[in-house]
Symmetry: C2
Subunit: 337 residues, 2 copies
C-alpha cells in the first residue's frame, strides 16, 4: 500500500450543480495543474475547473493513475450513475480518492472491485494511520504554521502560496496538509480534525518529522483557538507543530465566528498573544512572521489601508495572498531565519 | 439498548498481579459501594477491594446485573481463563463492561455470546454515540468543571468528592464522567479523549445538557491546557462545559509534566488565568471557586502550610480532598451561587 496518492489525477466533477460544489477540484486544478491530466464531467455538470474534458479512457491514455472525486455528493449518497463510473475506473486501473464524509471503502461494490483489481481507495477525511501520543521532543528542520482568527479565513491558501513562493526562490519547503482538500492537492497528509482527540498533537508530530536544518515544513492550520466548536483541534495543532514561525490568517469583514452567530471574532492582539503562548510551550523560539488577510470583500483602496494599519500595529508584513502574493511574508521569513 | 450500565455490579479482579492493576475496581468500590454486590477473584489474584468474594452464581443471586472488568488485562490480551469466565457470565445473564484499550466487541466469542443471549457489551473507552459539533448555545442549569495543572492530579477524585458532599447537603448534583473509570463508577458518560477531534466540545455539550436552574453538573476534567500531548482535549472540554465554576486540581511535588521529562509545570496563576479565559469564551460568568491539592507526598504540617499559602495568594479555599474533604469548596460554591 502506497503512502501517497498516485498522480497524475483525472478530476471527477460528476453532475456538480454549480461551481461551488466542485471547490475541491478547483483547489487541485489551481495548485497542482501539472498533476492533473483533465476533468471528467457528466451531463448537466455546471462546474468547470478549466482543464481538458476527458473520458476515463482518454484520461488513462494521458497517464492518469487516480480518479479524484473533486465534488460533493448530493445528500451524502452515491448515485447509481456515479457508482457505474467509479466501478469502471477501478476496472480500468485507476485508484480512487475522495474527501467525502461517507467512505468509498464502505460501498461494497467499490470495495470489492478495488480488491479484485488490486486498486487503492483513498478516503482522505478518515485517517487510518497508527498514531502515537505526542512526545513533545524537539525536532530538526524548521516549521511554519498558519493560525486563524476564525475557521475558513484562508489558512490552506496561504500555506500553499508560501510553498509556491519558496519553491520559486529555491528554498526547501513542503506543504503539510491537515485537511481533506489539502491532502488531495498534495497527495498525502492527515485530517487532524478527524483523528481521535488524544492524538491531535501526535498526528502533527507524525506529519512533520525531523528534517534537514534548512528545510521548512509549512503546516496547514485548522480552526481557531477562539472557535467554540473546534479550538481543541487548533490547540493540539499548535503544540504538535513546534512551529518556528506563525502566520496569522484573517478575514476582516466577518461579523461573527463561522457557524456561531452569537460569538464575535477575537481581538487580533489577544488572538496572536494566545497562539504565540501556546506555540511556545513546545518551541520557546516561536514568533509571528506575518499576517495574511482575505480582503476579497473590500475595495482595493480600503484593503490597502487595512493592511497598512495592521503592519503599523504589529510591525509585521501584512498581505492579501490572492491580491498581492506572499512575497513579503517570505522576505520576512528569510530575514528572520 | 440501554444508555446506562445496569447495576449492581460484580467486580471482576481476575488474576491481578498487584493492587494497582485493579485500580479501576478500587475506584468503583470506593465511590459506589452500594452499587457493588461483591468481587470475583481468580487464583493468585493479589488485589482486594474489600468487598465480599463471590462466584458468578453467588453474584447473580445477590442481584448483580453487570460483570465489570475492574482490572487491566496483561499485555492487552484476553487469556483463555478470562474468556471462559466472561463467556459463562454472558450465558448466565450478566452484561459485561470494561474500560480496556482492546474492545470486548472485537472478541468474536464474546460478541457471539452477547448476541445469542441478548446481553450488552460496554466498551466505555470507545464512544459509540452519534455526536454533533458544539453549537456553543447557553444551557440552563449550573456546571462545574475541574481543570488541572497536569494530568493525573486528582480531577476525577475531586469531582466525585464534590458530588458526594453536595448530596450530603441535599443539593442537586450529578457527576458527569469523561474517562473510562468515571464512566464505570457512574454507569454513564463519554470518554472525551477518545472522540473524533472535531467533536470534543460537542461531546461535552451532549454530556451536560440543559437542566433545572438549581442543578449542578459536575464535569470531570481531563489533561491540562499546559500538557503538550493532550491540551486539545482540555481546551475542547473547557469550551463545551460552559462552566459557571472551575476548580483547579494540582499536585505540588511533581517535577515535570506527566510523561514529559523536559516540560515543567505551569505557574499556577498563569494556568488559572488561561483556563478562566478559555472558559469565559462560552460562559462569560465563569470563575474559580476553589483549589484541590493532592498533598499525599507532603507531611501534614507542610501540606497545611502549602494550602494556606495558596488560599492567601488566590483568595480561594484550598483543600486536599482526601485529607480534609471538600466541604470548604462546597461552602464557597453555595456562597457564590
Amino acid at each position: 500500500m502506497s503512502s501517497t496518492i498516485r498522480s497524475p489525477y483525472l478530476l471527477f466533477l460528476g453532475d456538480a450543480p454549480d461551481q461551488l460544489a466542485a471547490k475541491t477540484a478547483d483547489g487541485i486544478a489551481h495548485w497542482r495543474p501539472e498533476g492533473c491530466v483533465g476533468q471528467l464531467r457528466l451531463e448537466g455538470c455546471q462546474a468547470d475547473v478549466g482543464l481538458k474534458d476527458l473520458t476515463l479512457e482518454e484520461g488513462m491514455e494521458a497517464g492518469a493513475r487516480t480518479l479524484v472525486i473533486g465534488v460533493a455528493n448530493r445528500g451524502g449518497r452515491f448515485s447509481q450513475l456515479w457508482l457505474e463510473i467509479l466501478g469502471r475506473a477501478l476496472e480500468m486501473g485507476y485508484d480512487l480518492a475522495a474527501g467525502l464524509h461517507n467512505r468509498l471503502v464502505d460501498v461494497p461494490v467499490l470495495a470489492e472491485l478495488a480488491e479484485k483489481n488490486g486498486r487503492q481507495l483513498w478516503d482522505v477525511r478518515h485517517p487510518t494511520q497508527e498514531l502515537e501520543v505526542a512526545n513533545g521532543k524537539p525536532r530538526s528542520g524548521k516549521r511554519l504554521l498558519t493560525v486563524g482568527s476564525d475557521c475558513s479565513v484562508g489558512k490552506m491558501y496561504t500555506t500553499l502560496a508560501l510553498e509556491h513562493e519558496m519553491h520559486q526562490r529555491d528554498l526547501k519547503a513542503d506543504f503539510r496538509a491537515t485537511g481533506q482538500t489539502g491532502i488531495l492537492i498534495t497527495g498525502s497528509g492527515i485530517s487532524v480534525d478527524a483523528v481521535v482527540a488524544d492524538f491531535i498533537s501526535g498526528a502533527v508530530e507524525w506529519l512533520s518529522p525531523d528534517n534537514e536544518p534548512e528545510h521548512w515544513d509549512l503546516i496547514e492550520g485548522q480552526g481557531s483557538l477562539f472557535h467554540a466548536s473546534f479550538a481543541g483541534v487548533s490547540m493540539g495543532l499548535l503544540h504538535g507543530a513546534q512551529a518556528d514561525a506563525l502566520v496569522l490568517c484573517h478575514e476582516p469583514t466577518r461579523k461573527h465566528m463561522r457557524g456561531l452567530p452569537d460569538y464575535p471574532l477575537p481581538d487580533l492582539k489577544v488572538c496572536m498573544d494566545r497562539n504565540l503562548e501556546a506555540a511556545r510551550l513546545t518551541n520557546p523560539e516561536a514568533r509571528f512572521t506575518g499576517i495574511a488577510v482575505n480582503t476579497a470583500k473590500l475595495p482595493e483602496d480600503e484593503a490597502g489601508a487595512y493592511l497598512e494599519r495592521l503592519e503599523d500595529r504589529f510591525g509585521l508584513p501584512a498581505v492579501d495572498p490572492v491580491r498581492h502574493g506572499v512575497g513579503n511574508l517570505v522576505d520576512r521569513l528569510e530575514e528572520n531565519f
